[in-house]
Amino acid sequence: MPVDYRDAAARHFEDANHLHSMGRWANADHLFGLSAECALKAVMLALGMRMNPKKPDKPEARYAVHIDKLWMQFPAFASGRQAAKYAALMEPQSNPFQSWDVNQRYHHRSEITRERADQHKDGAEKARAVLKMAELDGVII
């Protein structure tokens, strides 16, 4: 199936908020992380990130990472006059997803607190703002 980072970012975000409102912190938290990853990858793809020629549903190797690492890579990727605008929305030194791990899906629910989910909700909203700005600018249609 073809990759659609923008729609994936939106649906993960919607479902994460749904779970968050029901107090289901663990899976909400997991989806906030995936949503942020997809939002940034949607912008990066529009700004020139290449997909892996051997695995067309994955980005080139250095960007085939999850949000805990991708957040830090985004500002380095987004240099140049146009992309710098999006990097400016993110604070690389305070990565909200430092405490997020894709493998937490295998962990016990009690490991993921509300505080943690709130922090990652905040991060997902920031990544979403980057995506929305790129849509407004016509970088992503």
Binding site: R81, Q82, A84, K85, A88, L89, M90, E91, R128, A129, K132, M133, E135, L136, D137, G138, V139, I141
Partner: protein, 435 residues
């Protein structure tokens, strides 16, 4: 695609004409023009709000798509909704009304990579001293030289002048006013880089120097240069000057904050901003946002008037045009030694055409409250303050010469300019203590 191609300048008009035919659809709509100039329509609310108007929406999308050619989108991508885009309030504030008719207001939200400052509101003034920005739409017309002589003249009269070298891409007044041994450690490029990591305040005490040029006078000239003796590599710093960050305010706000902090400490009688030439973001901030009087340098050439007309016609849209135009003065630069009268007459006519076309109200000059001036009105913004070409102003290095600036030369070349500029910036300021 059928029909003749649509080019950038036609697209907006076509979009407006098309949307106006659908005036019953909403009270307020927005044309969103993206980085590449492509236009989409933004409707308030979300798609479900228009469920009972599906056919109208479809017709509108089809018409826009057909009208806009390469500056449009396929019909299904032509229309966006506010709620889906979650536009932040600060993004919205760049929007302005293009048209109001038949109960519908059509706004334009212009998304640009640079140049947004030309149309933004001025900052709330924190300073009590006047400011003047010296600008030329083209460089090499003696703008910085005029700034230095004017600053010197004011210092002679007992004024305390504070100069900022904002011509960061081509710094000039910094080294003309300050010999190497008088340079402070740091300059404006350093400040922007350090401020980017929250350390701007740490270097401000090391960014100011007194120019020896005015050492014998009652007043003084202090300067915040573009660079200092410890700046090191200039280009890598300059490249980071305009960087935005999540924590820091936009560039213009930061410049205003830096200038204000020096004003607070130094309490000058006048601040002079040497703006970068050309239509650049530095000039946009220095002319339109910093509550400064603008001295607009020009030579009488078709290319200069054309370049100014690009800028002035952009200002027609400025929400605060009525304030902005009150603080402008055109300067006739490098007026030749021969046939001065004839030259200035031609200059004045060209300047008048430019101002009438873009900035003056279209009414007779005698109409009350109208901002409109006769060709020969000496107080009009288009009536040139002249700077005469003078041999001594070529290769102007006053700090390197023992005699500094010679009063006779200054008066000959710039007497009329300085009278005019003094009146402009000090109008209403109590001069009892200075004279």
């Amino acid at each position: 695609m059928s029909g003749p191609p649509v080019f950038f300048e036609q697209a907006l008009t076509k979009a407006l004409e098309t949307v106006k035919q659908f005036h019953g659809l909403a009270r307020e709509v927005t044309l969103l023009r993206d980085f590449r100039g492509r236009i989409r329509l933004l409707l308030p609310g979300s798609a479900v709000d228009y469920r009972n108007k599906e056919r109208t929406i479809k017709r509108l999308a089809d018409s826009l798509s057909a009208a806009l050619g390469g500056y449009g989108f396929p019909p299904e991508q032509m229309i966006l909704y506010h709620e889906a885009l979650a536009i932040a309030a600060n993004e919205w504030s760049d929007r302005f009304a293009l048209d109001q008719s038949d109960g519908m207001t059509i706004h334009l939200l212009d998304r640009q990579i640079t140049g947004q400052d030309w149309l933004k509101d001025p900052f709330t003034p924190q300073n009590s001293n006047p400011r003047a920005t010296l600008f030329g739409v083209k460089g090499g017309v003696g703008r910085s030289t005029a700034l230095i002589i004017w600053a010197w003249h004011l210092a002679q009269r007992g004024k305390r002048v504070l100069v900022f070298d904002l011509d960061l891409e081509s710094p000039g007044v910094s080294s003309t006013l300050l010999p190497p041994e008088a340079m402070p450690d740091f300059g404006i490029v350093d400040w922007f880089v350090e401020d980017g990591v929250g350390q701007g305040d740490l270097i401000t005490p090391e960014m100011l120097a007194v120019s020896p040029l005015a050492s014998g006078s009652r007043g003084d000239i202090k300067i915040v240069p573009a660079f200092g003796s410890k700046t090191g590599e200039y280009l890598p710093k300059l490249a980071r000057c305009y960087a935005q960050s999540a924590e820091a305010a936009p560039w213009g706000e930061r410049l205003e904050r830096m200038v204000t902090s020096f004003e607070r400490n130094e309490q000058p009688d006048l601040v002079l901003l040497d703006s970068r030439a050309g239509v650049h973001d530095i000039a946009a901030v220095a002319i339109t946002r910093m509550n400064a009087f603008s001295l607009l340098f020009a030579v009488d050439s078709a290319q200069t008037w054309r370049a100014y007309s690009f800028l002035f016609s952009h200002w027609k849209r400025h929400a605060r045009l009525s304030d902005l135009r009150q603080r402008m003065q055109i300067v006739a630069a490098m007026v030749p030694e021969t046939n001065r009268g004839e030259h200035l007459k031609r200059f004045r006519e060209h300047a008048w055409d430019l101002f009438r076309e873009c900035l003056y109200d279209e009414v007779p000059a005698e109409a009350a409250d109208a901002f409109s001036f006769d060709l020969n009105d000496e107080e009009a913004p288009h009536y040139p303050a002249p700077v005469f070409w003078h041999r001594a102003l070529q290769e102007f290095e006053p700090c390197a010469q023992a005699e500094g600036i010679e009063g006779k030369m200054a008066a000959e070349a710039m007497g009329l300019f300085m009278d005019r500029a003094d009146r402009l910036v000090f109008a209403g300021v109590d001069e009892d203590n200075a004279e």
